[in-house]
Amino acid sequence: MLHVKLSLWLVLILLTLSSSLAQQYTLSGYVSDSDSGEKIVGANISISSLKKGTITNEYGYYTINLPIDSIVVEFITLGYEKEFARIALTKNTRLDIELKFSNILQELTVTPDDENDIVSSTQMSVHRIPAQVIRKSTMLLGESDALKTLQLLPGVKSGNEGFAGIYIRGGTPDQNLILLDGAPVYNVNHLFGFLSTFNTDAVKDVVLYKGGVPARYGNRLSSVLDISLKEGNAKTTQGTFSVSPLAGRYTLEGPVKKNVSSYIISIRRAWLDAFSAVLFPGDQKTAYSFYDFNFKYNHTINAGNKITFGVYTGRDKFYSRFKSGSEKSEYSFRWGNAAYLVRWNKIFNPRVFGTFLGYQSNYNFIQESKTISDLIRQYRGVKSKITDRSIQADFEYDGGSKSKIRFGSKLSFLGFAPEVQQITGSNIDTVLNKEFQEKSLNFELYIEQDLKLNPNLFLNVGLREAVYAVQKKNYSILQPRVSLTYLLSKATSMKASFNRMGQFLHLLTNSSIGFPTDLWVPSTNKTAPETSVQYALGLSHRMTDRNLEASVEVYYKTMSNLLEYRDGANYLFGSKNWEDKVIYGEGSSYGAEFFVNKKKGIVTGWVGYTLSYTDRKFAEINEGKKFPFKYDRRHDISVYANYNIRPQKSFSMVFVLASGNLATIPVNSYQGLLPPNYSLTPRFQSGSYLNDFVNQELVIERNNYRLPLYHRLDLNYQTSKTTKRNNTRTWIFSIYNVYSRLNPFFLYQSEGRLKKLTLFPITPSVSYKLDF
């Protein structure tokens, strides 16, 4: 095994060295928005005369190697006016460009190196969703949501009705690496999962990798969701204030020193607790609230150095308070994330761009019950926590027109404290489960290279190795990644990818609901890391005359060492140790995804269709036989369309049609046997429970029942107007589930009947936004 690892590393390093020998002059710089100074991700830089091009990276930086020449460089990106620059390239040249925002829709020249181009990019199974799309898609109670927009993409499935969790190519939500400006977020749920923690006013860009994940990402099995927040306007102060039936949002951004440093502050707070104060005025009070807060400060030290500080924090609180005479009691849940990061972008030389990132990301959950009176003073608290402190360094090296290299490493210190209980009473004061607190060390190393093997063949090859130390045991997972693109014509390409992924964290959950009680636990000497292997094959086609892109992909994925609670084991009836409550198994998933996307024009949007099969196999479930995964939805169609009636008025719709989820439902009842001597139990002798064990329900197999077809239509109308003070006010009218389809949220049996609970029949809402 060691030989295989060494060989793989050696091959990749040799490839890297061989491709870095080319010598040319370099044109490099930042591309930014002329109004705000915000860096533009994915802007195209092309030199038509040389048929060469590149795009800006996630920090808006580009670099391209060119021969000595007098050239015209075009800077193009969607929604901005084209810019041209004429340069006599006689040395390495720095060229920072500002693009002007435009409502006029222009044609986009696509270059062979355009990563955004569905045809020529080596990357497959990726979707980039601009923030504007998120703000116009599904809205529940007036709140748009990044994760709910992603649920409309092929290969991405929602869990339960109304929830923000995403299930990608048969994986579970914990198998998605969700990064907020590079720092992982461990719980993305507000309001028990109805809303994600990402405030769309502060979001700049969302990129989702469903497969073919580049080697620069790791530590999750299924996908990477990379969310970038705005940098803050470096030229002028501006802000947004908005209200919806659920929450209020306020965002302020502006320069500290014009074009040098900027900040952005964004706050969102739910006001459900204000409603509950009206609904429960007496001694009994039940309330819910959440908030989130984003702050970012950017400072450009000089042309080659930029530093960023970021803070994200968000908390939810649900509580019930009772008062009876002198006795007061309170039962509460509190949970939240906090992430702090500092990032340094350094341009070492025009060809080498470096990023150094340090962050701390925490998630904690606290469940408390307190009773206080003259006679009693009782407290019980259950706390779970995960802490991730990491430092990482990433480098991009432009090795010439045929090669781009990325490499880097990351060191993480992880702390886990699942279900630590503190109990205080009249004759007890103790802390339980302290012994299950774990610390682990994770070191990762990667190298990745984009290669142009010939004019029609592009390769992205990478290798990542993760080493993990816990409880005096070391794990190492070597993760090769390969993506290949072959241009069949200028408009059509064929793609293939292979990736192996590993994951040292596991989320123990009882449901798909995203409860805060879900536990993050580490791999230990008993619990091995999860691994997956995915193969994908695809065909991409661009219809330039119709502004359409189309793709079809097939994939096959296997997952091993998956964790699940045993039947009957759950958080509410906890036993001594989480490891006693779990079982280990495997899963597989395969399917085909079809996607047609229209990015430009008065009408934009997409249609996605997924055909998929997903199963699981656990020795202790379903008699050890394979069974379909709960979210094994065979067919899934999503349509999103946005009609720009005028620049200030838009109408959008979302339609979803999907096979129902699966559930385990008995098919008959039958006579069972009493266990030995059960008739001697007080329960039986009392005469009230004579049916215990005798009346059994016949379950044929796990997840044998498919729920009815899921479908719904959402509409959204937005109208904006500029006020006399030059502010823009926007009214947003949205209807979730227009024709009130009663999609099931939860199934239960009652009096021999199967019943479903629907949370969201037709749900209209009105929101107001003021941009100033």
Binding site: L673, P676, N677, L698
Partner: protein, 328 residues
Amino acid sequence: MRLQFILALGFSSSLLSSCIVDSDLPLPEGEPQIVVNSILNPDSLIKVQLTRTRPLEDSQPFEVIENATIKLFENGVIIDTLFYEDNGNYLSNRKPKETYTYKILISGPDIKLDIEAEDTVPVRPEFSVCFGKTISQKALTLYDVTVYVELYNLNENQFHPWVEFISQDYNYDYRGNDTTKLVTTKFSYIDSNSPSLDDFNATFDNFNGFSEYAFYLRLSDAFGNSPLVNIEVIGGIGINNQSSRLFRYDVLSNLIKEQALSVNVYNCSPAYDKYLKSTMQDFVNNEFLGTPLPFSGPVKIFSNVKNGAGIIASYSAKSQRVDKFKCN
């Protein structure tokens, strides 16, 4: 004013409409099946009950099968044809023997495919018990007796032990506080911190720091091949009544003749072990507390019946009085 009106309209319409709606779904249709129930143990005659499954929404008694033919095989040789007694029960005049394998073959006019099932009767368990004072008392001083159960030769006998506690003619009344009435009771909760136990049916008592097992102690699969396993039991209760606990240490030596604290150990066949565990899991999830645990689904109950449902299961049991053996 207009802004306020629109906002108020928006808020109220959203809140009013996003309510919960409850409605019915069609139940899955399952083919009717013949259900076979039989327990084989060396102390009883062989008996098989045949019934038919019924739809979930049906609350009528289970239909019994009266016209079937049941052939009994012992180690592959036919030894008997069972006769019909009543209520779907078919009897043999034979008792099963330890280590022998029994197969039943069922046919009849209402049975499309012959039904068959088999199981091997395990040997009787080997164990000893004794009682002693509880050494380390936890937060609440409810217990002052500890029972030790020592199981032997598990590795040789493919042991799948299930342990229960019975208090005989003790002054404990599960209906109230009438402590003069003597009753025989199987413990509903057994308290233990023994690491060798499977805690699938346990809840953790935070205030006292131990696990409470419902009705039985099942040995964890990891200990199934051990030559010797010790289980320490620190208490038990008949029902959710804090005042009615296990026998106290000081009274155990002074019981009247009829009174006893006994430990029964059942050595179950692998099939019966799986059946018992799955039925107990289903019970703990859905019935034990009156309402199902949140998000717990139905459990697939183990069956070894080919072309039908139910179980033919075997065990061998042994009982020992605890009160007669004080630990050294």
